[in-house]
């Protein structure tokens, strides 16, 4: 990685943290549990890396690690979004 590439990644990281702070301070306390499970599902984005490892041509230790990572990440993504939806369905106004 060139230094400039690294700096670009750090730019993205820092700016995304600011966006996150701005967005999340506006979430009302009543939605804090769904926020947590929903954002938790987003952190399952690491599934993309798991797919790349589990789908390699030759079978290596990387593939095994990728497969386990893929199972974990899928639990995180599927479980997170479903349970969040289950909760949000219940929030009703009078």
């Amino acid at each position: 990685m060139e230094v400039i590439d690294l700096i670009m990644l750090i730019y993205v990281f820092v700016l995304a943290i600011f966006v996150g702070f701005e967005l999340i301070t506006k979430v009302p306390p009543t939605l804090h549990t769904p926020l947590m499970s929903g954002s938790n599902a987003i952190s399952g984005i690491t599934i993309v890396g798991a797919l790349l490892s589990a789908g390699m041509e030759e079978f290596t230790i990387s593939t095994i690690l990728g497969l386990v990572a893929l199972i974990f990440a899928t639990i995180n993504v599927v479980g997170g979004y479903l349970v969040t939806d289950r909760m949000l369905k219940m929030f009703k106004k009078k």
């Binding site: 966006v19 306390p29 009543t30 804090h32 938790n40 789908g55 909760m87």
Partner: protein
Amino acid sequence: MQIIIYLTYLIASVLFIFGIKRLGSPKTARSGNMLSSLGMFLAIVITLFDQHILTYEYIIIGIVVGSAIGATMALKVQMTGMPQMVGLLNGFGGGASALVALSEYYKEDSSDIAILVTLVLSILIGAVTFTGSFIAFGKLQGFVTGKVVKYPLQNPINVLLLLVVIVAGVLFVIDPSRVDMLLGILVISLVLGVLLVLPIGGADMPVAISLLNSYSGLAASMTGFVLQNNMLIIAGALVGASGIILTIIMCKGMNRSLMNVVLGGWENAGQETSSGGTAPQGDVKSVDAEEAAMIFDSAQNVVIIPGYGMAVAQAQHAVRDLANILEKKGINVRFAIHPVAGRMPGHMNVLLAEAQVPYDKLFALEDINDDFNNVDVAFIVGANDVVNPAARNDQSSPIYGMPILNADYAKTVIINKRSLNVGYAGIQNELFFYPNTLMYFGDAKEAINKLVNELKEL
């Protein structure tokens, strides 16, 4: 193709941001979650077209197994078990990030310092999140003691382990062929996760879960650096920020520093018995269901204050019935929710939503606290420390300075509790002995059902 993939990742990142933005209101929240899951779906599907993916057998196995487990967990879990569920999900996310980073190490020989450093960080944060979350899950589920666990040399041991990780990390970055260093970091990080969460007491779990939530995001971000993938960095950073904000809100809700919570907190926290000492003494007045019903019947303004005890007794439906019958009698009923009530941020809100209490009846501390002077009856269900006036008046109290709900300002305070036992902070609640306080003893669900039946007869 690679260009299309990257553009789709950009769309996915935007969908995540919009998804969280729409969580800003209960009206739009559900669609927000769907947008965010659409982003995830797009990201997964387009990745399958990546030129590096050549076989699909393991991918299919992984996705089928993971989906089956995840869906079963999500559909089976009870609303009272939500803190455990979120704890587990944090753990899987963190574990996945650490494994992806490790897999990346075996895949490609890299001597790039930035990649190696973030690889170490991803493994460290991911592994701590993994075991830490499982301990948190165990504490919430009751497998692991919910008490504050203190072990000898607690802090020196943790600092030492962290130093070992740093030294091993430096050695690994200098010589990336040292796989022993990397595996050592993994093992120590797994141990650290256990040691860091073990001391945290049950009622401090909202902080622990928020913090682990943040870690799971940061681990994903670090993996994003390893893979040089902007989408992972963005998504991880959003989650990292979310967890940190919730952590700060929870700590403020208890007027404590993060360090104080993480290191095990109050001296008597989580103990079953009172330490005695300055415990307030005096007469306790108690009422039965009939008397309590008459007091409610003559009120105009009622505020219900739920706490963890309501979750334990699964009393949210009974509480809803109580609110309904009072409203039928023309009484104004509102709910006051303390930020740290329950075992995770927003725990009470989810339980009451499950019981179909409209969310516009739920008020946060700062929105209702000035109004307690006009309240006829404050009804406290399974809450304790968060209504202890000692937090306002007693400078020697360990909870002094903690924001509390001003239940004691109400004309009458009725407290439903099983006994006069102390709360999590390990101190007696002086509110029990106030002249305007009435204790209504009993299991929350049973006692409130009885109360509702009495009210029906009035």
